[in-house]
Each structure stands twice: as C-alpha cells, then as structure tokens.
Subunit: 223 residues, 2 copies
C-alpha cells in the first residue's frame, strides 16, 4: 500500500480547496439573504419527494430554488421544475458527492439576491458527502424508516455532521417494523442533542412542522 500517503495528501488538498470555496459561498449566501439547505441521504430515502413538497409549501410566500446532484439523468430537475421554482441539475458522472466547486459553477448565472431559500440535493450516498462543506447553513440528513434503525451507528460521520435529521416515509413505519426508540437512541449516540423530526411527504404528516422549522431557522439566520 505504498501509494496511500500520496492519495491522502491529494485528498487533503482537494478538501482544503473545497473548504475555501464553501466558506466564500457561505459568506455570499448570508450577504444575499439566501438560506441554503443541503439534503443528504441513502439513494431512495425520499430527498426529491420531500423537496417537491417543500418547494410547493414555501412558494408564494418565499422565493425558492434548488440544485440537484445525480451521477446521471436530469430526471430530478425535471420533476422539481414542475413546482415552478428555478431548478438546475448537476450531473456528477462517477463522482459520489457534490463539492463546493460544482455548486458554485451551477450558481454562476443565478442572482442570489432574488432568492430566499436555496436547496441543494446531494447524490444519494451516506458516506462521501460527509467530508464536503457546500456552504450550506443547514445540513439535513434523511433516514427512511425502511433502511433500518442501525444506520446512524454504521455511517457515523454523515449523522455526526447533520444539523437536523428527518426520519422519512413514516407512512411505511408499521409495515417495515420500524423501531422508533432504537433509531432515536442510535442517532443520539453518534450525534448527541441532534434535532430529529419524523415526516411523511406522502401523507403530509410532520410537513407543517418541517416548514415551520425552516422558516424559523431562516429568520434567525437573517437576524
């Protein structure tokens, strides 16, 4: 494994560059009054459906936009654009996460001052996005009830780095035999004090509370 130190060195340089760009973007988001939220989860935990309902729920009162990352296809952007919000797809090819440079590039021709909320949906992955700051104010990690209550213990960095955890697809909780207590205990073990909210984008359960948290956090960030 003689090559490992060199790989680690290169990775550290990439991360350092990422953090410089992310920090500058965070400043710019604040200056422009945009509240930036990133969404991270396993593939299929319901990021896009949540985002669809979130954009629809905020629109009218707020100016919202979204960036969505995927290895391939523009499907999520097409789906989200139906809400009427500006949406852009970032196609990563074989890259397993978004980085700050990809986000900056995607935002180049957008006027941030014309936005209140910017949502950044990462590639579905519980590992790689953990190390990459995207300049977001709120990092949301989704855990669906069908994935198993042990996931926080098995993927600790991503849950440790979350600002808020949404337990999704609660409409399937009973059918999946979801153990709520175990999930909460495991989240608390890797991210002590983490805020956790249960939602079902399908039935709407918990969605009002989620939108209220968003509005409150955005308001307090703007103070």
């Amino acid at each position: 494994m003689s090559r490992e130190p060199r790989v680690v060195q290169v990775r550290q340089n990439v991360l350092k560059q990422n953090d410089i760009v992310a920090r500058a973007m965070r400043e710019e988001f604040r200056r422009s009054g945009v509240f930036a939220v990133s969404l991270v989860s396993s593939p299929g935990a319901g990021k896009t459906t949540l985002l669809e309902k979130t954009l629809a729920g905020l629109q009218g009162a707020w100016r919202v936009a979204a960036l969505v990352g995927d290895l391939a296809t523009e499907n999520d952007a097409i789906r989200l654009a139906r809400t009427g919000a500006p949406v852009k797809q970032i196609v990563t090819g074989t890259v397993c996460h978004l980085d700050a440079m990809m986000v900056r590039r995607a935002l180049e021709d957008w006027d941030l001052a014309a936005l209140d909320f910017l949502f950044i949906e990462n590639v579905g992955n519980l590992v790689c996005p953990a190390a990459y700051d995207l300049g977001e104010e709120l990092r949301l990690v989704l855990l669906s009830v069908t994935e198993g209550e042990d996931k926080p213990l098995k993927y600790p960095p991503i849950f440790h780095g979350a600002d808020l955890v949404l337990i999704t697809k609660t409409d399937l909780a009973e059918a999946a035999g979801f153990d709520r207590e175990a999930a909460r205990k495991h989240l608390e073990a890797v991210a002590p004090g983490i805020a956790v909210l249960e939602v079902s984008a399908k039935t709407g359960a918990g969605m009002d509370e989620w939108l209220e948290i968003l509005r409150a956090r955005a308001a307090s960030a703007r103070l």
Copy 2:
C-alpha cells in the same frame, strides 16, 4: 481545478493495483473451489438479512463463510455469526467501499480450501463499489422496492457491473407503490439482458429460487 489530473492519475494507479490483487484472488478462489459472491446496494436495502437467510439456507450441505464491510461497528458480523458460519467484519473507517487488498487481508488466516461459498458484503453505497473488482465470481446488486424504480437510471455504473439483480423487500411492494414494470425497464436500459429476481427475505418469497441460482452458478463455475 488544477489538481484534478493528478487526482485522476493517483486513482488510476490505485485501481490498477486493486485489479492485480483481485485477479490473483479470483485465480485462488477457483483453485480452491470457492464460489465468491459480492453483495452491493444502498444502505438498508437488506444485504445483511438476505445474507443471514442465505447462510442458513446453504449450511449443512455446503461450507459457507462471509466478510462484511462497514464504516463502523461489528454489528453485522455478530449478527451473521449467529448462523454458525465463519464471519469477519472489515471496518473501513471513512472509506466508502471495499477494495481487493482489504478482502485479501481479511482472508489471510482462513483456509479457502475448507469453503464452498464465500460471501462479501460491501459497504452500503450505490456509487463507490462499482470501480473495485474484489475477485468475486458473481456480483449481486440489491435494489429494494422502497428505493424507487428510477435508481438504475441514476446510478448506472453499479447496475451495469452487476451479474444479477435482486429486487428485495417485495413484502413492502404494495405499501410502497412499487412499479415492477418500470423497475425492470430501467434495469434493462442500463444492463441489457441482466438477470433479475424478486425476493423477500422476510416472508421467504423467492428465496428458494435464489438459493437454486447460487447452487447452479457455483456448480457451473466448478466444471
């Protein structure tokens, strides 16, 4: 992004080293009469539960063993060891996939000639494992009915590299509104001709067929 070419170069060297080790392991598996199967999927698609039932189903008639990869915890190894099969956990830390060197190291003190089947459960990830040959004879990709039928289109390399796709958790298909035709169409689009089987490790549906496929493929590999 002046550093990108160097990153790509280093990554290619790592992959080359991986492939050399994987090729040597594949030779050794064949010489020893071990049929090696790797399991890849999103976090929570049911790899460990499938493996639990698979080890139990083969044991007695066959000598089986398993390696399981996770960022953290020995939970899966403890769970699988209850089947009585030899099991070893590979803890990857922050690494998002297994590589051939990790597998070789884990196998160092095992006598391959004393095994008929070796299962290698990768880290839950639909992106990173795609590029890493582990010397397996059969690469199994799991797609659970709760993840959405669009996943093959959004994560094409992993499905393209599969030898067999198991659609898992079919007991939840109705509750999740799973669209079987769409899933099959999307799999066929990225992996034309791919073998697909539907199973529920919970109810046992499809499990006999899965074990029969394993036995048949192992027998034909030994010819």
